[in-house]
Amino acid sequence: MSTAALSVSNACKQFGGLVAVNDVSFEVGEGELFGLIGPNGSGKTTMLNLISGALQPTGGEIRLSGERISGLAAHHIARKGVARTFQLVRVLPSLDAEENVMTGAVFGHRRLWGEEARQLARALLDRVGLGGRAHMPVAAMTYIDQKRVELARALASDPRVLLLDEWLAGLNPSELQTGIGLIEDVGREGRTIIMVEHVMDAIRSLCDRCVVMNSGRKIAEGGVSEVLADPDVVRAYLGDDDA
């Protein structure tokens, strides 16, 4: 029985005839910044969905610090301390920034309410660089600012494992630097983070270890530089000629 922060054992997800995740296993240690990478369609987001409970695995097990979470409904998994952001940012349009962030704090395992929750929300908004904009309607914010709100919301639940689904996608170079800095900052406080990413610079600079998926299977695992030099990985991304 491993006490890794998150352990995935032989996870499978089948949609009718399509096997999106095929017998994938890996472990994420406490406080690690873990990358989940692979070409488009490799099943990375599906894997993340299995962990967060958005989808139920058709096989295999997922454990959070030894406790089984696969098969539980998403809200149960959230209450055990798993928080996530989404590939296409999902902010709550009719709530302001502060209320968006409070959402994470009120129903997570901390169950804060009232003034306590508001203070935490404001502190987190400061932290992600949105200080002073607590009452701004999120629908009026720029894309990167909405992403920041989503990150703050995820952090508000004080998660044991934070799942970032292509959080750095769609950012221009300067926004990207800011974003990488933010994630670094969050990692520094000891949080366990699993990042699905396409932006290779980010993976190289942020992640300790990573797993590469292709067509639903795990094709490599290990330190970032060794994984990215692996000929199988290169072949998966660029095709046979460049391996």
Binding site: H75, R90, L92, P93, L95, G108, G114, S157
Partner: protein, 323 residues
């Protein structure tokens, strides 16, 4: 419990004032206007209780007649056996129980199917009650003899309506209310934030069903003779939907804007042109769909927002002119 904001205190104050004003009606008239007042107050209670659930979830429930009828029958069956306040409690419990069952069963069902399900359910309950009455009682109807006058019923309905509003107010300020707002924005985010979306909806539906059943119980003495076609009258469900949607369900007090004029109109139509009631109801549905998708209050809010942007643009233009 956080402190009440200025706006909230003002709303409470206004509400209290309106309740006091409304309570004065029996002093002014004990005939026609009081009767109309009872109708208005009944539908105010029903529509607000309906909106408690159907507003945030956007599920159109036609189960109102089922809850109402069960409340009426609770009183009808128990009036000679148990004291009246206990019957009200039983009505609330029965309404909540049915709502709990229906809620638990229908949360996988969305949109059209939910509407049809609740309509079918109301009809099923009516058929079953009719059948049990014919089989196990000597007559289909029940007699209800009480000392309650129109004044009593009016004041009880007023108290109920006030209670429904108070409950709605408290729910809005609570975790449940916050959860419903989040669910209304994005149910996936809600679930990933730790909200048990199914349970939240069921609880709301149970509260709503309980209040509707109490309304049925309160008005039972008015009928003197209760029978399934009138206690479980499907028109109750349809009228509640129309009035609530006409008023607008974004705010809890939205339906009131629909209740008052529509009850008056329906009273006039059923008195003067009784064969035209269906047509009026049909036209009301068309009005909702084509003209007032968010109800009258929705349109008013749109107007306010439009005026605000006009005024802001006016400011900008004025400033630019000076520059």
């Amino acid at each position: 419990m956080s402190r009440l904001s200025q706006d909230e205190l003002r709303a409470l104050g206004l509400g209290a004032a309106l309740v006091v004003l409304a309570a004065l009606l029996p002093l002014l008239d004990q005939g026609f206007y009081l009767s109309m007042g009872v109708n208005i107050m009944l539908y105010a209670a029903l529509c607000t209780a309906w909106t408690l659930f159907s507003g945030p979830t956007h599920y159109i429930s036609l189960a109102t007649a089922a809850f109402y009828g069960l409340g009426t029958y609770s009183v009808g069956l128990g009036i000679d056996i148990l004291p009246y306040p206990i019957l009200l409690g039983i009505a609330a419990l029965v309404g909540a129980a049915l709502a709990g069952l229906v809620g638990a069963a229908t949360l996988r069902i969305s949109g059209v199917y939910f509407v049809i399900f609740t309509f079918g359910l109301a009809e099923l309950v009516r058929q079953l009650v009719t059948w049990t009455q014919t089989k196990f009682a000597t007559a289909i109807g029940l007699y209800v003899f009480t000392d309650f006058t129109e004044v009593h019923i009016y004041l009880m309905l007023l108290a109920l309506t006030a209670l429904v509003f108070l409950t709605g107010f408290l729910i809005n300020r609570s975790r449940l209310g916050f959860a419903m707002r989040i669910i209304g924005n994005d149910e996936t985010v809600a679930r990933h934030a730790g909200i048990d979306t199914a349970r939240s909806k069921i609880v709301l539906f149970m509260v709503s069903g309980a209040f509707i059943a109490i309304a049925g119980a309160i008005t039972a003495p008015r009928y003197t003779y209760i029978e399934p076609p009138s206690a479980f009258n499907p028109m109750i469900s349809f009228l509640v939907v129309i009035m609530a949607l006409l008023g607008g369900t974004k705010r809890l007090w939205g339906p009131l804007v629909g209740v008052i004029p529509f009850t008056i109109v329906m009273d006039i139509i059923s008195a003067r042109f009784p064969n035209h009631t269906s047509i009026v109801v049909g036209l009301a549905f068309f009005a909702i769909v084509y003209l007032l998708p968010d109800g009258v209050t929705g349109r008013l809010e749109q107007l306010r927002a439009w005026l605000r942007t006009r005024r802001a643009a006016g400011h900008v233009a004025a400033v630019e002119k000076q520059a």
